[in-house]
């Protein structure tokens, strides 16, 4: 966390003392490190201990933290905010982590049957394959492309390319999903500084969050996420943009099937056709960083890391707009941010 904060301050070209508020995104501190009160923990890394708070929305904690920061900036309560997402997961036994992650689902409706998070997406994948006839072989393309993209990303957890056919040969986790369909358990932190006072080539053109039922048993469909649709529409309206204006996309591929459904819910593909955007590459770049699969998924850091990656992609390509989609649970919360390159 210290490293992420230090490089964010360096990158912003300001000093720590310019920061007037700290917002920390974190889901599992109490379980993994016996540590709550992470807002003040982060503030105490800065010399002047600015006011702080913590945001939690499972895997969407990062984008909800950024959304909260935007609201404080717009209200004038703050002028320069350090937003940091952090998760330390690998010291905790796998069974305990799996149990803790189920906290993102409904404790009364989903968990008692013995369902795990991969299990929830196993149900979703099975139903999707049934409704749209997606084959296991075609699904393999998603994780294979993410691994290929991560080879050139020095911040990725796994920088190895994996042949497409190896994805479904990996150990089964929650059929039809295999190990290489699932994002890993990771440690990580990501930090951005948002300011209404300072200049930056990157600005936030839209910040929107939306909610849906926490339990999948309360949903009309398994193959589409209403929160993604709602947040997307609101974000495009806020930025006065069309989908076609977006050049770089970092989406929430906690499981391979989630990437496909997200593309459809965001309207980049027709229902049932999301996989086609992985089969023919371009013009929209999707998870050029390697996504959650290959970069790792330190839960609350992800939403902020996506914003950093899209900003890097924009400054290197010179294009104008990039978009991040970050959801928690089975998209019971979805955060969408549109990043604008003001010096394209």
């Amino acid at each position: 966390m210290d490293e992420a904060i230090t490089s964010a301050i360096e990158n912003a070209g300001c000093t720590a003392l310019d920061i007037d508020t700290v917002i920390v995104g974190n889901m599992l501190g109490e379980v993994t490190n016996n540590q709550a009160h992470l807002g003040a923990m982060a503030a105490s890394l800065l010399p002047h201990h600015p006011p702080s708070l913590r945001a939690e929305a499972a895997c969407a904690s990062g984008s909800v933290a950024v959304h909260t920061a935007c609201a404080l900036l717009e209200s004038g309560k703050a002028q320069t905010i350090l937003v940091v997402g952090v998760e330390k997961m690998t010291d905790t036994p796998a069974g305990k982590i799996a149990h803790a992650l189920m906290g993102a689902a409904d404790a009364e409706k989903d968990a008692p049957s013995g369902l795990t998070f991969p299990g929830i997406f196993g149900l979703i994948a099975q139903r999707y394959m049934h409704e749209y006839g997606l084959s296991r072989d075609r699904l393999n393309i998603v994780s294979a492309l993410h691994h290929k993209n991560a080879v050139s990303n020095p911040f990725a957890q796994f920088r190895n390319a994996i042949p497409t056919e190896k994805i479904s040969q990996s150990p089964k986790v929650a059929e039809p999903l295999c190990m290489l369909d699932c994002s890993p358990i990771s440690d990580g932190a990501a930090a951005v500084i948002l300011s209404t006072k300072m200049e930056s080539p990157m600005s936030i053109a839209a910040s929107q969050i939306a909610s849906d039922t926490v339990s999948i048993t309360d949903r009309a469909t398994l193959t589409s996420f209403a929160a993604t649709k709602d947040a997307m529409e609101a974000a495009l309206a806020e930025a006065s943009l069309r989908r076609e204006d977006i050049d770089h996309l970092e989406l929430h591929d906690c499981f391979s099937i989630a990437a496909i459904i997200s593309l459809e819910d965001m309207g980049f593909a027709e229902p049932g056709q999301g996989i086609s955007l992985y089969e023919k590459v371009g013009p929209l770049s999707i998870n050029a960083s390697g996504g959650l699969k290959a970069c790792g998924h330190p839960v609350a850091a992800t939403g902020i890391k996506q914003i950093i990656d899209v900003s890097k992609q924009l400054s290197s390509s010179g294009k104008a707009y990039g978009l991040t989609q970050n959801f928690g649970g089975a998209a019971a919360t979805c955060g969408i941010h549109i990043i604008k390159n003001t010096q394209p």
């Binding site: 049957s113 149900l123 139903r127 027709e270």
Partner: protein
């Protein structure tokens, strides 16, 4: 405890803490009353576990907690007596198109040319009865409509607000099933929301879906054809025609936006060719 059907299922190879090790099959089950639950699936033959399969509830030891307390939960057993519900209930012919494109005329001619194979599904509605409604609509009160909806007796429904009230339209599942039972194909003359609803209720594969377009090279020409037809028909006031055209524009856009919902888009330029084309397509499916 109610029986249910499998909406989806997954085999979890690493169950969470407190559950027995080893693969555990979990299903999302839609119960008889429409609520959904998750539960362990049991079967002597795992190949019987399929989407659409009927399952029966059974109390079963689910887990033993750290204090040694034995926790029982409802698991679901695949019933060999109740085979997989047919995934494919039968075909429904659907005609969708903007107001004025000629849906009613086409359906009238169709019911004479292929009338022994197809039968029109009545639309249940809360709107006031008008002359000429007899064949097409079944009028019911708003309360009755709400009741049908609550009891899950409608395959699909939509509310279309008008200047005076909120009007409801829908299709009763029982009407459609009754036509199938006669060995005929149900036909709906419908609009985009109801089409979408039918497709998700019965499955897209069940809908033999035709989109009807007015003649014209551009959208503007198509809309002007509709305008002339609506004026010639003389049923509506200029204000109503204006509203209908606005809807028509959305309908035309729908053909492009949701093209996966249509099997064939047909331009209604000459009645005979359209009828020939339509009945040909329908017959193909009747025979297959």
């Amino acid at each position: 405890m109610q029986e249910g059907t499998i909406v989806s299922f997954t085999t979890i190879h690493h169950p969470p803490e407190g559950f027995p090790a080893g693969p555990r099959i979990i299903g999302l089950i839609e119960l008889h009353d429409g609520t959904k639950v998750t539960g362990q699936l049991m079967s002597s033959d795992s190949s019987l576990i399929k989407i659409g399969q009927t399952v029966l509830p059974k109390m079963r030891l689910s887990a033993v907690n750290a204090q040694g307390l034995r926790l029982y939960d409802i698991a679901y057993e695949v019933s060999a007596l109740h085979p997989v519900k047919t995934q494919f209930p039968g075909y429904i012919v659907a005609l969708t198109g903007p107001s004025g494109v000629g849906k009613t005329t086409i359906s009238l001619v169709l019911s004479t040319t292929i009338g022994k194979d197809v039968e029109r599904v009545p639309i249940v509605t809360t709107r006031e009865a008008k002359v000429g409604d007899e064949d097409e609509y079944r009028h019911i009160s708003t309360e009755d409509f709400a009741h049908l909806k609550k009891e899950n007796l409608l395959a699909t429904s939509v509310s279309i607000p008008s200047s005076t009230e909120k009007r409801w339209y829908g299709y009763r599942t029982s009407d459609i099933e009754a036509i199938w039972a006669k060995g005929k194909i149900p036909m709906v003359i419908t609009e985009m929301n109801l089409l979408q609803g039918l497709s998700s209720h019965f499955g897209r594969r069940s809908i033999l879906s035709f989109g009807l377009l007015p003649p014209g090279k551009s959208k503007r020409q198509m809309l002007s054809t509709l305008l002339h037809r609506l004026r010639d028909r003389g049923r509506d006031t200029e204000k109503q025609i204006e509203d209908r055209l606005k809807n028509a524009e959305a309908d035309l856009q729908f053909f492009t936006d949701r093209k996966e919902l249509f099997d064939h888009l047909i331009v209604n330029d000459q009645l005979e060719t359209v009828i020939e084309h339509l009945s040909g397509r329908v017959r193909e499916h009747v025979q297959s």
